[in-house]
C-alpha cells in the first residue's frame, strides 16, 4: 500500500490589530493592541516584544508586551499612531522569533469610536510619550 505523506504543519503566524482601552495605574489609556498567534509562546526571562519593521533595521517599538496565560498569543501594546505600513516582528530580548507574513497597514487596525470613550482617557501617542519623558 502506498503511504500518503503529509507535511507537518509549520507555524503560521497571524496578527490582529485593534485599539483597546487598558487601565494603567487607575487611569484608562488608549492603545493599539497587536495580537500575534500561531505557536506556543513561552514565558521567558527576557521581556517579549512586538514591533513594526518599517525599514532596514528600523523598528517602531512597543510600549509593553505580554504573553497570554495559555501561551498561545503574544500581545504587544503600541501608541495609536503606529506607522501606516510595515512588517510585524516579535520575539524576546534581542532575538526576533518570527515575522508575520504579509505587509501590515493601519487600515487593518480596528479603531474605537472616540466619542464613546471615557472623558479622562489618556491617548497614548508619540506626543503623549514625548510629554512623559
Amino acid at each position: 500500500m502506498d503511504i500518503k505523506y503529509r507535511m507537518r504543519k509549520l507555524p503560521e503566524y497571524k496578527a490582529l490589530a485593534s485599539e483597546v482601552v487598558r487601565v494603567l495605574n487607575d487611569r484608562p489609556h488608549l492603545l493599539v493592541r497587536i495580537e500575534v498567534s500561531g505557536e506556543h509562546f513561552p514565558d521567558r526571562a527576557p521581556h517579549p516584544f512586538v514591533m513594526i519593521n518599517v525599514g532596514k533595521e528600523e523598528y517602531y517599538k512597543d510600549l509593553f508586551t505580554e504573553v497570554s496565560p495559555d501561551n498561545r498569543k503574544i500581545i504587544g501594546y503600541l501608541p495609536i499612531n503606529i506607522p501606516s505600513k510595515g512588517v510585524i516582528v516579535f520575539g524576546y530580548g534581542d532575538e526576533i522569533w518570527g515575522t508575520v507574513p504579509g505587509r501590515f497597514t493601519t487600515t487593518s487596525v480596528a479603531r474605537l469610536e472616540r466619542n464613546r470613550l471615557p472623558k479622562n482617557i489618556m491617548i497614548v501617542d508619540d506626543n503623549f510619550l514625548q510629554l512623559k519623558k
Binding site: D43, R44, A45, F49, L63, V67
Partner: protein
C-alpha cells in the same frame, strides 16, 4: 499502643569500622523466656533500626524492655556474637546501642575467596605474557593492610600491599601490570615474543598475609597457548615503552595475538581505568588538530607486528589508551564511537601510554624540585571508572590513581609506597619525613604497588576506606630506595625531591569534609504552605497586597513606567523538624531556639512550588526556607509577567507573614535567592531594604541565572552583601544578548558579578548547564540552538544548586567559615565532583592589595598602584587595556560577557613576558595568602589552539633578586571557551586563579625563598605554550 525504637550500630571492636550486612535480633531479657523484640539488617554504615511495641515485652512487672542482641551473618543462622552478658536494663522509648564485635569472632565465620583474572576479566590460573594480573579478594579483615607476595619458582618477584575495604574485600585491582613485558627484578624490558620465552612454563605463587598470618596461597602459570591479544606502545624493535617525554619518540604500537588481521582502525583515546563493551570514547587530537586515528592493514595469524602510529611532533602530553578495531568495508557499525565486542583494548586496566612534559620545565615552581600531580580520587562504577577528586565526604572511600605527567628521569623504581599524611604548612615541610596516618596503620602499612615499567603508572587502588577523620591531607608516592629490583624495594618514609611525587604540598591534596550537597543536621523537614486566605486570617495582615512594578521593558525608555500590581501572598515554607509529617510552624524543632531564614524569588514563567526539593534541603540544614509566588493578580487569576521591581517588593510582605507565624523561632538573619528575573530582584530587594530602612538583616544574596535588564542594579555600596552567582554556559533564556537600550555589555550574571562590590563575591559558571536545569528541566536549551540531550542532566545541575547554595548560606548566615574554599575555587564537594561536570569559579575577597585592576584612564604601561608595566619588547603587540566587552562600544573582545575594564595579552614566543613593578610603598605582601587574578582565553583567537587549555607562569621577585616562577596549571585550568551552537553567545568567561603565596616560600630544593616583605616585581611568563591570547583583570594579593 506505645512503640519503642531501638537504634544501633555494629562495629568491629579493634578498628571501629562499621559492619554492614549483618542480621541483628533484639531481645527483652526475662526471668523465664526472653521475648524477641524485632530484627534488622545493618546498612552500609553498620546501622540498624528496630521498632517494637510495648505488647512485645510488657507483663505484670515490666514497663520498659531490658535489651540484649544476637548478631548473625547475613545467612541469618550463623551466630557470630551476642550481648546477653551485657543487658541494658529499663530502656526508654528511644534507645541507642553500639555493638562492638571482636575481629576474631567475625573471622571465625569468614572464608577468604581469591580470584585472579586477566585482561578479559575471567577468573583463570593460566595467563599470557603482557596481560595484567588482577586480584579480587573477599573475606579479609575490613580496613587492614594485606601483603600480596608474588614469587616465580620460589624466587621472590615483589610484594604489594593493599588495604581491604569496609566489607573486607579488595575490589579488582591490578597486581602485576603487563606481566612479563618488563622484569620486576631488573631494568630489562622485552618484546612480547621475548617475554614469552622469558616467563613461560614457570610456576607462580601468590601468598596473601596480614602481619605474620598467612591467609591464602594461590598458584598460576604463564602459558603462551592462552593467546591473549596484546597491544602495547613500544620501541621500534617492539620492546615495551609505556612513557616518554613529549617530542622525544615516535609512537610505535606493537601487537600480538590479535584475533583478526586485514584492515584495522586504531583509536588513541584518553586513558580510562577500565573499559567495558559499550563505553563511549572520542579520539584525542594530534598537535595539528586532526583526530588521532590510524587505519592500517595487518598480517593475519596473530604474529607480532610493530607499526608507527604517529611521529613525535604530532603527540601532545597526556595519558592515553588504544582501541584496535577490525573494520569491514561499508559496515556502519564499525564507525560507532563506543567499544564493540570485537575491539581489542591494549591496556584495559593499566595505562596505554603517558606522554610526559619535559621534566624540569613542567615543575610547578620553575627550577625547583617538587613534583605535584593529582592522585586522590573516586572509584566510580561507570566510565571512566576513576575520577580525580580533592574532596571526600566523611565516611567515603579515598582512592588513588597514578598517572604522573612528570617523572624524574633518574627514577628507575619498580615500586612505590603511597602515604596518606596530614597536610603540612610551609614551615613544617622543612622536615620531609612522612607519617602515614595512624588510623591506617602507620608507616608499616602504606599501600605498595608494582608500577608499570617506564611510566610509573598504577591502576586505581583504595588508600583510605571509610575515611572518618575530617581534615586536610596529602598523598605522597614514595619511590624509596629507587631500585629496579622490585623484590628489594624499601620505602624510606620521606618525601625526597626530585624523585618522589606528591598530591598536595602547596595546597592540600584532598579534604575529608561534610558534603553540603547531602549533609543534614535535622532528619526531618516540616512543611507549612500558605495562600492569601491563610494570611487574611492572621491578625493585622492582608493576603492581597499592592506592589509597584516596571511596566514593559527598558528598551522603550531608559526610565520605565511604574504601575501598581496586585499580589496574592502564597508561599511554600519548610523548617527543621524532629519527626515526619509536621505541618505546624509551632512544632519546629526545639534543638535550637531560632533559625536563619532563606527566601526564594522565582523567575518569569516559573512555579514557586518547583523549589521544594531545595527548601527541604535547606530545612534539614537548619534554615527556615520559603519560596514565594511572585505572579501578579490580574483580577481573575495569577499571571506571569511581573518585572524586577515587583518581584523585589513582593519579598517584604512575605517576611511579615513568616515573622508573624514563626515568631521568636525565626532570626532576623536572612538569605535571599532569586532565579532569572528573581536574580535581578534580589539585588533590588537589598537596595530597597536599605534605602527604605525596612530593618531586615539581609546577609547573603544568591542569583541563579539572573537577568540584568532592570536598570543595571549594583549590589554594592550601602547595600553591599556577600554575593554568589550560579550560571550555565548553555542558558537558553539568558543567552548573552543585549536588548535594553542603555546597556553596553551582555545582560547576564557576569555583569552583575562584575559590578558587585564591597563584600565577598563568588560566581560559578557551569559548562553545559541551562537556565532552568538547576531547578527543573533543560527545556530552554533549544531556544538558543542546543540539544537537550547534550546538556548536563538535571540531577547534576541540582547537585550544584544544593551544595553551593547550602554552603553559601551556612557560611554567611551561620558563620561557618569552612565553606570558604568552595567559593574560592579551592575545592569541590564530592556530590558535585562525582558528576564530572566542568565548571569554573570567580572569587573576590574584601582584603586585597591591588596591583592592577585596569579601571580608570586607559594606560597599559601604568598599574593601579603606580607601578610600571613593560614587556621589554617581547610581545608581538602591546597589551590592550580597556572595556572588556566590545559588543556595543569599543572594547577588547566581542565575546566578553564582562562589565569591567581589563587587559588583553597576546604572545607568540616562550620567551615573552609582561612585568608589573611593585612600588616600594606596596612591597610588603606578607599579610596575604594568595596571588590572585582573573583570566580567560580569548574566544576565537587563532593564537589559542583549539580545545586546549592555556598555561603560563607567574613570577615574584624580591628586592634581593630571589625569584620563583609558579606554573598556573598545577592549581587551575584555563579552559578553552565552551563553544555554543549559536556561537554569537559563546563567552570569554574569566575564572579566578589564586596561587598560594606559600609556593614562593616553601622548601623547594634548588631555589631560594622569595621575601614576601620585599616584593619588587610580578611577571607573567608565557613560557609554557608557544602562542596564546588571554584577557586578565584584578591582579592582586589577597586572602
Amino acid at each position: 499502643m506505645i512503640t519503642f525504637r531501638i537504634k544501633g550500630i555494629v562495629k568491629e571492636e579493634e578498628t571501629g569500622l562499621p559492619l554492614p550486612g549483618l542480621f541483628v535480633k533484639s531481645y527483652d531479657k526475662d526471668l523465664l523466656f526472653d521475648d524477641l523484640l524485632g530484627s534488622a539488617i545493618t546498612d552500609t554504615e553498620g546501622i540498624f533500626d528496630i521498632i517494637c511495641e510495648s505488647s512485645d515485652f510488657r507483663d505484670l512487672f515490666e514497663k520498659k524492655p531490658d535489651i540484649y542482641f544476637k548478631v548473625f551473618k547475613c545467612d541469618r543462622t550463623t551466630l557470630i556474637h551476642d550481648t546477653k552478658r551485657a543487658v541494658r536494663w529499663n530502656q526508654d522509648r528511644i534507645s541507642e546501642h553500639e555493638i562492638l564485635i571482636p575481629w576474631i569472632e567475625i573471622h571465625a565465620h569468614t572464608e577468604t575467596e581469591v580470584l585472579l583474572t586477566g585482561d578479559n576479566g575471567e577468573a583463570r590460573n593460566e595467563f599470557s605474557t603482557g596481560e595484567s594480573l588482577t586480584i579480587q579478594v573477599k573475606g579479609l579483615r575490613p580496613g587492614y593492610a594485606h601483603d600480596f607476595s608474588l614469587s616465580m619458582d620460589g624466587k621472590a618477584l615483589f610484594t604489594s600491599t593493599f588495604i581491604s575495604n569496609r566489607y573486607g574485600d579488595i575490589e579488582p585491582t591490578v597486581l602485576w601490570p603487563q606481566m612479563g613485558l618488563d622484569d620486576p627484578n631488573s631494568k630489562a624490558r622485552f618484546t612480547p615474543e621475548e617475554a614469552t620465552v622469558r616467563w613461560d612454563g614457570a610456576s607462580y605463587s601468590l601468598n596473601i598475609s596480614m602481619g605474620r598470618e598467612t591467609i591464602s596461597t594461590s598458584t598460576f602459570k604463564i602459558n603462551d597457548a592462552v593467546h591473549t591479544p596484546i597491544v602495547i606502545v613500544s620501541e621500534k624493535d617492539g620492546r615495551l615503552l609505556n612513557g616518554f617525554e613529549v617530542g622525544t619518540h615516535p609512537l610505535m604500537l606493537t601487537m600480538r595475538n590479535l584475533p583478526f588481521g586485514g584492515d584495522i582502525r586504531i583509536y588513541m583515546v584518553p586513558r580510562q581505568y577500565d573499559w567495558q563493551v559499550g563505553n563511549p570514547f572520542q579520539p584525542v587530537l594530534f598537535s595539528n588538530g586532526e583526530p588521532a586515528v590510524l587505519e592500517v592493514s595487518l598480517r593475519e595469524g596473530g604474529v607480532q607486528q610493530t607499526i608507527e602510529f604517529a611521529r613525535a611532533e604530532m603527540l601532545m602530553p597526556g595519558a592515553y589508551d588504544f582501541i584496535v578495531r577490525p573494520v569491514r568495508y561499508g559496515f556502519e557499525e564499525d564507525e560507532l564511537l563506543a567499544v564493540l565486542p570485537n575491539d581489542v583494548i591494549g591496556s584495559r586496566r593499566v595505562t596505554g601510554l603517558v606522554i610526559r612534559e619535559a621534566f624540569w620545565l613542567a615543575k610547578p615552581v620553575l627550577g625547583g624540585c617538587v613534583n605535584r600531580i593529582p592522585i586522590s580520587g573516586h572509584s566510580i562504577s561507570g566510565s571512566p571508572y576513576f575520577r580525580y577528586a580533592d574532596t571526600f565526604t566523611v565516611g567515603e572511600d579515598v582512592w588513588a590513581g597514578l598517572d604522573p605527567g612528570i617523572v624524574d628521569p633518574n627514577n628507575i623504581s619498580k615500586m612505590c609506597a603511597l602515604y596518606v599524611i596530614e597536610s603540612k604548612d610551609a614551615a613544617a615541610w622543612s622536615n620531609n619525613s612522612l607519617t602515614h596516618l595512624p588510623v591506617l596503620g602507620g608507616n608499616a602499612n602504606t599501600i605498595k604497588r608494582k608500577l608499570q615499567a617506564g611510566c610509573m603508572n598504577a591502576d586505581k587502588s583504595l588508600v583510605w576506606p571509610n575515611a572518618m577523620l575530617p581534615g586536610e591531607y596529602d598523598i605522597v608516592a614514595d619511590f624509596g630506595n629507587n631500585t629496579s629490583d622490585a623484590s628489594l624495594f624499601v620505602p624510606d618514609h620521606a618525601y625526597n625531591t626530585p624523585l618522589d611525587i606528591i598530591d598536595g604540598y602547596f595546597v592540600a591534596g584532598f579534604r575529608i569534609v561534610k558534603d553540603p550537597g547531602t549533609m543534614q543536621d535535622f532528619n526531618h523537614a516540616g512543611n507549612w504552605n500558605y495562600i492569601q486566605t491563610d494570611v487574611d486570617a492572621m491578625p493585622g495582615l492582608s493576603g492581597t497586597v499592592t506592589v509597584q512594578d516596571e511596566a514593559g521593558q527598558y528598551h522603550s525608555s531608559t526610565v520605565p513606567t511604574i504601575i501598581n500590581r496586585q499580589l496574592r501572598l502564597k508561599a511554600n515554607v519548610f523548617f527543621p523538624a524532629d519527626a515526619p509529617g509536621i505541618t505546624d510552624p509551632a512544632s519546629i524543632s526545639s534543638n535550637q531556639p531560632n533559625y536563619p531564614l532563606i527566601v526564594i524569588i522565582h523567575g518569569n514563567g516559573h512555579d514557586y512550588t518547583s523549589y521544594d526539593f531545595l527548601l527541604e534541603h535547606f530545612a534539614k540544614n537548619g534554615f527556615i526556607a520559603a519560596s514565594i509566588d511572585v505572579r501578579y493578580f490580574n483580577g481573575s487569576f495569577d499571571s506571569h509577567g511581573m518585572g524586577g521591581q515587583g518581584r523585589a517588593e513582593a519579598l517584604f510582605p512575605h517576611l511579615n507573614v513568616i515573622n508573624t507565624k514563626f515568631g521568636s523561632n525565626v532570626q532576623n538573619n536572612i538569605g535571599i535567592m532569586g532565579h532569572s528575573r528573581g536574580g535581578d530582584a534580589v539585588v533590588k530587594a537589598a537596595r530597597i531594604n536599605q534605602q527604605q530602612a525596612l530593618g531586615h538583616n539581609i546577609n547573603a544574596v544568591i542569583a541563579l541565572a539572573p537577568t540584568d535588564q532592570y536598570g543595571t542594579e549594583v549590589l554594592g555600596g550601602a547595600w553591599s552583601k556577600p554575593y554568589f552567582v550560579l550560571y550555565g554556559s548553555r542558558d537558553g533564556d539568558i543567552t548573552g544578548g543585549i536588548w535594553v537600550s542603555n546597556y553596553t555589555v551582555p545582560q547576564t550574571g557576569f555583569a552583575h558579578y562584575d559590578r558587585a562590590n564591597g563584600s565577598r563575591k563568588s560566581m560559578c559558571f557551569v559548562y553545559r548547564a541551562t537556565h532552568n536545569g538547576f531547578i527543573t528541566d533543560n527545556h530552554d536549551a533549544p531556544w538558543d540552538g542546543d540539544a537537550i540531550a547534550d546538556m548536563e542532566p538535571v540531577t547534576t545541575q541540582q547537585a550544584f544548586t544544593k551544595a553551593y547554595m547550602n554552603a553559601f548560606y551556612r557560611w554567611h548566615l551561620k558563620n561557618e567559615s569552612q565553606w570558604t574554599g568552595m567559593f574560592a575555587g579551592e575545592w569541590t564537594p564530592g556530590s558535585v565532583s562525582s558528576t564530572g561536570a566542568i565548571f569554573y569559579i570567580q572569587y573576590h575577597d574584601t582584603t586585597t592589595k591591588i596591583v592592577d585592576e585596569f579601571e580608570g584612564a586607559v594606560n597599559w604601561q601604568a598599574s593601579t598602584i603606580g607601578g610600571t608595566v613593560d614587556h621589554a619588547g617581547t610581545l608581538p603587540v602591546n597589551p590592550g587595556e580597556g572595556k572588556m566587552s566590545a559588543a556595543v562600544i569599543a572594547g577588547l573582545d566581542q565575546k566578553s560577557p564582562h562589565d569591567t575594564q581589563g587587559m588583553k595579552i597576546k604572545w607568540n614566543n616562550t620567551g615573552d613576558k609582561l612585568v608589573f613593578t611593585i612600588p616600594p610603598a606596596h612591597k610588603n605582601v606578607s599579610a596575604y595568602s594568595v596571588l590572585s587574578f582573573r583570566v580567560t582565553q580569548k574566544t576565537d583567537s587563532a593564537d589559542n589552539p583549539s580545545n586546549q587549555t592555556q598555561n603560563f607562569r607567574v613570577a615574584l621577585k624580591d628586592g634581593s633578586n630571589n625569584e620563583r616562577a609558579v606554573r598556573v596549571s598545577p592549581f587551575y585550568v584555563i579552559p578553552f571557551p565552551d563553544h555554543r551552537p549559536n556561537h554569537a553567545h559563546s563567552k570569554s568567561a574569566m575564572l579566578t586563579v589564586r596561587i598560594p603565596l606559600k609556593s614562593y616560600r616553601i622548601v623547594c630544593a634548588g631555589l631560594n625563598k622569595v621575601d614576601l616583605d620585599d616584593i619588587a616585581s610580578l611577571t607573567f611568563l608565557f613560557s609554557e605554550k608557544t602562542t596564546g591570547e588571554i584577557e586578565i583583570d584584578n591582579i592582586e594579593f589577597s586572602n
